[in-house]
């Protein structure tokens, strides 16, 4: 489209989408696969704890703050809905009306159910087809009330039209999918990298394709609307968001700009921006004078990936395995399939157009231990399309073998005997580990068989935390627990000496008590038996208190015992 004007975006507010939908979708899937995620009962949203964890893992840097402020993250919600739309997960979206007078549905026990097969099928598609599925999911929204006219884009700033009457008039009959595909095709023909004026695109469409969205003779939802509502009867604009707004008259000379033009702006903020096909630039200026805004999105820039996606020319990720066990994955689009195949074998060092991963021995061993058939060398060779560095090849083989070093048998018992040949035990033997030792299963049945054969077997059930005591005369490899000698541990007794003064008269008792209180000395003074008790530590203070009354009383202290 050579007639589009290029624009100098200096002075404009440029917005390049930082969020990677492809990556975050797979992060979300990884998250819900690893744990059971239950949605909230009342509004079917994710729980705050899940929001927080997902926000940490996803690419929307403002998500954390939004969660703390609003209690949810719109980007996480968007990814969640995409996963549902693509069929990767399933959960109830309709709910049940629990009470007789319930005004809204509830969602009891609504757990996100991972549709593993569907997800695996997606991962096995080529990058082109994966991208095609994503794009389809975004543009195949047929409901006019959910279209760009009436909805905020997830990343956008432009306000929509009032949805008043969106289910009437021409809107329900418009083919938004066709219109979106048409516009994508127009964008595809724009050379990548240059900033173009949105107004020039709108003018081009007005001249060359005035009916790209609303047909020349549009269909109306109800009879008589053609006269009553008119072509642009669904669209209201005004000078305030909530005030009295007026229909855009069909006969206005700039009606196309005011309706279809607004659509184009909001379309650019929609799927193309979310998928990173375009960047946009907004006017920086005075307050909004018209609602919804018009002409705010002044410029757009097409990226190379739009052409690659629509022409299905997305290059395969370039995987290189380095001798230092790092794996470089170069890809313009998030390499979901590659990451999924390497999941659990590598740690992520950095992500971006060039993702750097590192093979870890313990991860590889653990994965091979879980799945004996896993051939890590083949996987890496296939992904990289070439042989691995010799040292990596060798080490990986060793790491895989490492998983066999410790093999734990579950649910088996040990038969210990003196005879090598033991026919009754043969059907129950899993492994013979020495001439006289066997790993066996089905203990009850085996024991019965051995008894019947007159072999007088001894059945020993060891306690969970040690070895059972075996009777005298039994020959065994197992240790005989010896009774532990009693240990006498030193115990410290703390001795505290308390002194009690018995005072013969209440008046003297009261005086002594007052003095001690003033001295802040901790004593127990009992009025009923005129005693004052204290720890011997405070003897000096008490003596001082008694001595202070020398002028009034002739006191002496006598020891009772």
């Amino acid at each position: 489209m050579s007639e589009l004007e290029t624009v100098d975006v200096q002075g404009l507010d440029i917005f390049e989408n930082p969020c990677d939908l492809r990556r975050d979708l797979h992060v979300f899937m990884h998250y819900v696969q690893e744990r059971q995620v239950q949605r909230l009962y009342r509004d079917n949203a994710l729980r705050k704890a899940d929001y927080r964890r997902l926000a940490k893992l996803m690419t929307d840097l403002g998500a954390k703050e939004e969660i703390e402020r609003e209690g949810y993250s719109s980007w996480v919600d968007f990814v969640d809905k995409m996963a549902l739309k693509l069929g990767f997960v399933h959960y109830d979206t309709k709910g049940v009306y629990v009470g007789y007078s319930s005004a809204s549905p509830s969602f009891p026990d609504n757990v996100i159910d991972v549709q593993t097969e569907s997800y695996q099928r997606f991962l096995q598609l080529s990058m082109d087809l994966q991208e095609h599925c994503l794009l389809d999911a975004l543009i195949k929204e047929r409901d006019g009330c959910n279209s760009e006219f009436y909805h905020w884009s997830i990343l956008g700033r432009l306000d929509p039209f009032s949805s008043r009457g969106c289910a009437t008039g021409i809107v329900p009959k418009l083919d938004f999918v066709r219109a979106r595909r048409f516009l994508l095709g127009r964008l595809q023909s724009c050379p990548a990298g240059a900033w173009y004026s949105t107004a020039s695109l709108i003018q081009h469409l007005k001249r060359e394709h005035p009916f790209f969205l609303i047909p020349q003779r549009p269909e109306y939802t109800y009879k008589g609307e053609a006269q009553r509502v008119g072509r642009y009867g669904n669209f209201y604009e005004g000078t305030s968001r909530w005030g009295d707004n007026n229909r855009i008259p069909d006969e206005a000379t700039d009606a196309f700009e005011r309706v279809e033009g607004r659509y184009v702006e909001r379309f650019l903020e929609g799927a193309p921006l979310v998928l990173g096909y375009v960047d946009v630039a907004y006017a920086v200026g005075p307050e909004q004078e018209i609602y919804p805004s018009l002409g705010q999105l002044e410029a757009f820039r097409v990226r190379e990936r739009l052409r690659q996606a629509l022409n299905r020319e997305i290059p395969r990720p370039n995987v290189t395995v380095q001798p230092n066990f790092e794996v470089y994955v170069e890809s313009l689009f998030y390499p979901a399939s590659v990451m999924q195949q390497l999941d659990g074998l590598v740690e992520v060092v950095s992500e971006g157009l060039l993702t750097v991963l590192r093979l870890r021995k313990e991860l590889v061993s653990a994965r091979v231990a879980e799945d004996e058939t896993l051939d890590v060398v083949s996987i890496l060779a296939r992904l990289s399309g070439q042989e691995l560095p010799p040292n990596v090849d060798r080490e990986l083989s060793e790491w895989s073998a490492h998983s066999d070093k410790f093999l734990l048998y579950e649910g088996l018992a040990l038969l210990e005997g003196e005879e090598e040949a033991l026919p009754p035990a043969d059907p129950f033997t899993v492994e013979r580990i020495s001439p006289c030792l066997r790993l066996v299963r089905s203990v009850d049945a085996l024991f019965g068989r051995l008894e019947k054969a007159g072999l007088l077997p001894l059945r020993v059930r060891h306690p969970d935390d040690g070895w059972a005591s075996l009777p005298e005369g039994v020959r065994t490899l197992f240790p005989r627990p010896e009774p532990e000698p009693p240990t006498i541990e030193p115990v410290r007794l703390l001795r505290q000496v308390r002194v009690t003064l018995h005072v013969p008269e209440a008046e003297i008792w009261e005086r002594i008590r007052q003095v001690l209180i003033e001295m802040r000395c901790p004593v127990e003074a009992r009025r009923d038996d005129l005693t004052i008790s204290f720890s011997q530590t405070y003897q000096a203070q008490v003596d001082e208190a008694v001595a202070s009354l020398d002028g009034d009383f002739d006191l002496c202290v006598e020891d009772v015992d």
């Binding site: 313990e362 070093k405 410790f406 580990i433 203990v443 007088l456 001894l458 020993v460 306690p463 070895w467």
Partner: protein, 447 residues
């Protein structure tokens, strides 16, 4: 407790001034034996019986139980409050028992059902005082003789069982043979099973009296048989008692009048009590020994065991001690033939019981006198203990020598090396082993 209570306790128990100088000191000495015998000696027989009941129950009791001896307000019973019913009872308990220093008294504030102070009172007989409790009987007799322990009931059943042979069991006779095993009801025959069965029979003959309504119930009562056993356990060596002596204590224990004579006779009939007739009177006590058969000594196996010509062991059911019968049953297949109980060795049963019976004189006698048993015992000696099935443990193959050594060093005595590559360790050690293996850079694979 009020000061008056404290003073009374001090006086009744004879505590010195130093010992009762403070409440704390009094508490310290209260549970000692100072003055306890003298304090208990002045109690009435009813009061002693009640203290025995409190000792039997253990724990603490509320006021209604004391109404068994002190009574309660009976007029318009249901129209009276708890406090009105038991105010006088409480007074009596306080004066007669608490102030004598033989009973503890406290308020239970945890009982949410108790609404008044009277309902919250709890009384406990300290277990430290139990050895000093006087006998619950007015008088006991001392005879250094063996009594008559009735074994006829069970012997009668054994006899009938032998005579019946493989016919239908007679109603009321719980003995039967199931796959060579002698069963008493559903259980394998044993002295323990026999004892329990006897007690069950006795209990069936002496049913507990009907329980009164909860509102007027005066505490919980044991069943008559349990009460009789407890009371008779208070007798000393060579002491016997007439049934009438049990009347008063049983009235206190069971809070009802019982036919004590009939109860004792039933106990004797079912082999649970020993009786002795002296001068036209019959005395009772608990049996001195279990399952002894009069006229036969335990060691004299030949008196009731004989090897028959067809190599089976013939058991004289009239004379065999029950514990010997139990032991034979544990290692044999029993059968009844020609009015005789016969035993053949069963290797499986022998294997199961070998450990517990090894070294017993019965096995030695069988080895000498009954060749089938001798052969089986030889086999058992040869085979027992040679084949062991270990369960509830974890087994692993550790193919790395360094890892094996590390495990042995980290868990000494707990890792058993079974062979070059295999180890065993207790189940509870798994978590620690997993941690250690992970720390050393290895991975546990599960098979």
């Amino acid at each position: 407790m009020s000061e008056a209570d404290v003073r009374a306790i001090r006086k009744a128990r004879g505590f010195s001034a130093e010992q009762a100088a403070t409440r704390t000191l009094l508490e310290t000495f209260f549970l000692s034996d100072i003055g306890l015998e003298a304090a208990l000696a002045v109690l009435s027989l009813q009061e002693i019986a009640l203290l025995h009941l409190l000792n039997f129950h253990g724990g603490s009791e509320s006021l209604p139980i004391f109404a068994r001896i002190y009574g309660a307000e009976k007029r318009s019973y249901y129209a009276r409050t708890f406090t009105q019913r038991y105010k006088e009872t409480c007074k009596q308990v306080r004066y007669a028992l608490v102030r004598r220093g033989v009973l503890l008294m406290a308020q239970d504030h945890q009982d949410m059902r108790a609404e008044t102070k009277m309902e919250r009172w709890r009384f406990a007989f300290p277990r430290e005082f139990a050895p000093f409790l006087p006998s619950p009987f007015q008088s006991v007799a001392k005879f250094e003789r063996e009594g008559d322990l009735q074994v006829r009931a069970f012997q009668q059943m054994l006899r009938e069982f032998i005579q019946r042979g493989s016919g239908e069991p007679k109603r009321g006779n719980p003995l039967r043979l199931v796959k060579g095993e002698l069963r008493l009801g559903e259980r394998a025959f044993s002295v323990e099973a026999l004892r329990e069965w006897q007690w069950e029979r006795w209990r069936a003959k002496v049913p507990p009296p009907r329980r009164p309504a909860a509102a007027i119930r005066r505490g919980d009562s044991p069943d008559p048989v349990t009460a009789i056993v407890y009371l008779l356990s208070c007798l000393g060596e060579c002491e016997w008692v007439l049934p009438e002596e049990l009347t008063l204590p049983l009235r206190v224990f069971c809070d009802a009048e019982l036919d004590v004579q009939a109860a004792c006779v039933a106990g004797w009939r079912w082999g649970c009590l020993e009786c002795l007739g002296v001068d036209g009177q019959v005395y009772y006590r608990l049996p001195a020994a279990e399952g002894a058969v009069v006229g036969s000594t335990v060691e004299d196996f030949s008196a009731y065991l004989e090897a028959s010509p067809d190599r089976r062991l013939v058991i004289d059911v009239e004379r065999v001690p029950y514990h010997v019968l139990e032991q034979i049953g544990a290692i044999s297949d029993l059968e009844v033939s020609d009015n005789a109980l016969l035993a053949s060795p069963n290797l499986v049963r022998l294997g199961r019981s070998f450990e517990s019976l090894r070294g017993r004189s019965l096995l030695a006698w069988l080895a000498d006198h009954a060749s089938p048993f001798a052969e089986s015992l030889q086999i058992a000696e040869k085979r027992w203990g040679k084949l062991i099935l270990h369960e509830n443990l974890l087994l692993a193959r550790v193919s790395d020598l360094a890892l094996r050594v590390q495990l042995e060093q980290a868990f000494p005595g707990q890792i058993v090396i079974l062979s070059d590559d295999y180890v065993a360790f207790p189940c509870a050690l798994l978590e620690a082993v997993e941690k250690a293996v992970d720390k050393w850079g290895y991975v546990i694979k599960t098979a």
